[in-house]
Symmetry: C2
Subunit: 221 residues, 2 copies
């Protein structure tokens, strides 16, 4: 019976990893849609978000059913409660990818990103997609060294977020207020996406080390 | 034993209501700090957020301890899981109030809000504070008519959020990019604050009616 239960816990983790892959791909596509003004791609991200939402509901139902049926305690209970929380974070990452895609759609056929910000936004999109994928691997492997890399990649994302604001506040920035609004929002979406990934890997760190609040540290140090 | 358990569930709900009151007050003060350039008030909101975070951790620990000790099923289990989720939303509302206060501090001693947006931001702050307070009452009373009012108040907040963008995109808007960035972010913070309150009242609606996704409807209709 316990063996079945642990299989189910592993299956919850697998589903979380799969969801992480979906939101990673969604953010990669949303960024591409934003940079290239690709309406069809933007719309595919927007409509695919419903699948991520459905996966979250399915996972949450399974987790609550496990709580009801198995009445886990101690570590097992922590694992199930953490799964509920991670699914919330990952679902929210899907929403943020959808928001980026919505900005691409809103401005189509005009390019949403001014030339001066194209390299930064491209790097943010790539970093965000990589972070989500890595968070999924951390869930699957509990590799805390990789969790540290997620934290560092998120630091870089925060740095890029601040640099977007610096660019927009420089005298050379002659874009419309609409552009300023768009880039403020998009940059914020990327930054929040990274925050949620960090929250996911910290929950994994908590399961391994028992300390939730602390940034994940290299295991060896 | 069950009676003790139900007392504890009520106590969780009370703590959620109390947290809702704290984030309501935080958002009211943050808005005032933003509008009046009140540095001391902004700093008090920023430092008080740690208390809201601590309350959340305390509540979550109690909820998980209840799951471990009582192994609730059916409705009781749903109540505990919902409490965990509501505490996450309310804690996040506290973060958003802190973000508004941080904007006030960042721009001090300059007024953060241009004259043309003062009435809108004031109304957003008031609506947000009212929504949080009402959400707390919904948790305490399970009054779904009040939940409907929260949904409507959030619709108004969304409308104000869009109107901030309209104002900033009008030809009369001659503010700096810095101001445009600030107002985009603040408006977004208010809007998200309202979304979280709606998510809280929908969870209460779910406990009462069993339907999570649907906006709360008037009970009589």
């Amino acid at each position: 019976m316990r063996e079945v239960f642990h299989d189910e816990l592993r299956s919850l983790a697998e589903q979380l990893t799969q969801m992480s892959g979906l939101v990673s791909a969604a953010m990669a596509s949303a960024t591409q849609a934003l940079l290239e003004g690709d309406l069809a791609l933007a719309e595919s991200v927007i409509s695919a978000d419903a699948q991520i939402d459905a996966q979250q509901r399915h996972l949450d139902d399974r987790a609550v059913a496990l709580l009801a049926r198995e009445s886990p305690v101690a570590t097992d209970l922590r694992v199930v409660v953490s799964a509920l929380r991670m699914s919330t974070s990952i679902e929210r990452m899907g929403d943020l990818a959808r928001h980026v895609a919505s900005q691409a759609r809103l401005r189509h056929p005009h390019p949403a990103v001014p030339d001066s910000l194209v390299p930064t936004i491209a790097e943010m999109g790539e970093a965000a997609a990589n972070i989500a994928m890595a968070a999924g691997t951390v869930i699957a492997t509990r590799d805390l060294d990789l969790a540290v890399q997620v934290e560092r990649a998120d630091d870089r994302l925060d740095e890029l977020h601040r640099s977007v604001f610096t660019t927009m506040q420089a005298p050379e920035w002659q874009e419309t207020a609409e552009r300023t609004i768009d880039m403020t929002l998009c940059s914020r979406y990327f930054e929040r996406f990274g925050d949620h990934a960090v929250s996911v890997v910290r929950r994994v760190g908590f399961l391994v080390t028992g300390d939730l609040m602390k940034p994940v540290q290299p295991v060896a140090s």
